[in-house]
Amino acid sequence: MLEPITTRPPDGPAMLSIRDLDVHFPLANGQLVRAVEQLSLTLRAGETVGLVGESGSGKTTVGKTALRLVKPTAGHIEIGGMDVIDVSARDLRKLRQKAQIIFQDPHSSLNPRMTIRRAVSEGLILNTDLRGRTLRDRVSETLTSLGLPAQFHDRYPHELSGGQKQRVCIARALVLDPDLLVLDEPTSALDVSVQAQILGILKDLRDTRPSLTQLFISHNLAVIRFLCERVAVMYLGRIVEEGPVEQVFDAPAHPYTRALLSAVPVPEAVKRPDRMRLSGDIPSPTNVPKGCAFHTRCPIAEKGLCDTTPPPALTPGPGRMALCHFAGRTTEQT
């Protein structure tokens, strides 16, 4: 049960496979931001995986790097078997069509001077030979299927509400019929009732496009629980726990996951008894603590072990991983 794992072979064919990814950014003052460190993650075709973490955890960088919007420092990324790192300009184009991204803020992710029809057409014009009537029909059909009837198609973004704009962004991605969709906090800027609509649309995609693989990046655990099958928890550039959503949420193996879960404000009148509070702030990614990155805030950290030795990747259960010296012990307790 406690054997360190090196590879976690997925059941189906891998759609997105990230291995040993490092992304570092130099700052003007000479410091180095270690946004992503030694990160490995595999998404099987058709799977919806949540990537959760707080600010500075590097979750957004992972998403952008997977689509090559950010250049990695080291590591391998493959999308549908195609190498994303050493890629020619022509292949990168093919990749753009296969893998799409939806950003957090729908207000700023649409060009204010383009009608939504033009915004959705752009990807088709750039990547396909569709033109004229067929292009128009394809765009209209996609927008309508996402709940934006024809009267909206020639409007400008500022004439739409936040939820409608996010639908446009989803349409812009889906119109290319991608295999991989990276969603970077797509509902964080929206109100709850609108968020529910967008989450509904995204969940329906699992039925309407069963082969679509989704990487859902969010800080909101409730949303991840609702939408995803698997979850990976990030802290300071590393995945500290990974596994099926229900198992991780019901019996978290990493102390950070436990703290995160107990910090979620639950919409209930009863206060949760098993509260666990972290003291202190998240360390800066320019100055990641030695040993286990979490040891400075960890309630169960042991001196001489956690502050010196990087924790191994342990397997607290089938299909699970936790980057903690005590991952085995804590699950036995729960």
Partner: protein, 299 residues
């Protein structure tokens, strides 16, 4: 009951938003007295520039006609603005000079935009030595007072209206580089630029479809203000004897020659000066108004 609002989105029965926006812009602009004043002055100026030769009572006076019998007459019913030292009607010269002034403004601003905007886009979109190089050269130009540099350039090229325009254009573009580079840098970090890249848009498409259109409003505002400043610059060069040469009807040159007859024959300088003042004021007020329309927050 309002069943119409049951369907998603803003209520459908509304006039098309484009016209609504235009109406809102017009309303914002027209609400300000000074903006409207600027617009009126600019329209009058453009009208005079277009029809000056037909409006002028003595058009031949603008092109060096001499009548010493009528020299330095004070303003009267016959010569509303009086006459100058060679007996030319000042009103005619001011009216016909408007076209020269407009030419100067449009040419200088136009050339400055043609040089400055592409350089600004390049500097904003690239990083490394290209952008560094462009910005440092821009800084050098910006650190030298424009008019003095223009005087130096005209000095080298020789006085004349064409050379004055060339000189002014050469000192005017760095402002546009600064403006466009700053705007491009902020646009480049907008999510929709990232989104376009994720869709496979190349750098040229990003620049011309996504970045440039969103930089247009500050360029228009700056251009309208620069029209006034360029006119003032050309008049200054004319005044110093480096621009248009008498008897060419250019307002700065008219002030320069009229200066010798101050204060007794004040009208020879006063009316061309008033023309410059009003035109520059008009363009500046209009620029302020446009800025309020395009970006109300900058006030």
């Amino acid at each position: 009951m309002t069943d119409a609002s049951l369907e998603p989105g803003p209520v459908a029965i509304r006039e098309p938003m484009r016209f609504r926006e235009t109406r809102r812009a017009i309303r914002t602009y027209s609400r300000s007295f000074s903006s409207m004043l600027g617009l009126v002055i600019v329209i009058v100026f453009l009208f005079i520039a277009a029809f000056g030769p037909w409006l002028a009572p003595y058009p031949q006076d603008a092109y060096g006609a001499i009548d010493f019998g009528a020299k330095l007459l004070p303003p009267s019913a016959e010569h509303w603005f009086g006459t100058d030292q060679v007996g030319s009607d000042i009103l005619s010269r001011v009216l016909i000079g408007a076209r020269t002034t407009l030419q100067i403004g449009v040419t200088v601003t136009g050339i400055a935009i043609l040089i400055g905007v592409p350089l600004g886009l390049i500097a904003g979109m690239t990083s490394g030595w290209i952008s560094e190089g462009i910005m440092r050269v821009t800084d050098i130009f910006l650190s030298i007072p424009g008019l003095i540099l223009a005087i130096a350039i005209v000095g080298a090229l020789g006085p004349g209206i064409i050379n004055a325009m060339i000189a002014l254009s050469l000192v005017w573009w760095p402002g546009y580089v600064r403006l466009v580079q700053a705007k491009t840098l902020s646009q480049r970090n907008e999510t929709y630029v990232d989104a376009a890249r994720a869709l496979g848009a190349g750098p040229l498409r990003v620049v011309f479809v996504h970045v440039l259109p969103n930089c247009l409003s500050p360029i228009i505002v700056k251009a309208s203000m620069d029209m006034g400043m360029a006119i003032l610059g050309a008049a200054s060069l004319g005044f110093l004897g480096l621009g248009a040469q008498p008897p060419y009807p250019e307002w700065g040159a008219m002030i320069s020659t009229g200066r010798a007859y101050l204060p007794d024959w004040w009208w020879a300088t006063f009316f061309p000066g008033l023309a410059i003042y009003l035109t520059v004021l008009g363009f500046n007020l209009m620029g302020d108004g446009l800025r309020d329309v395009f970006d109300p927050r900058q006030r």
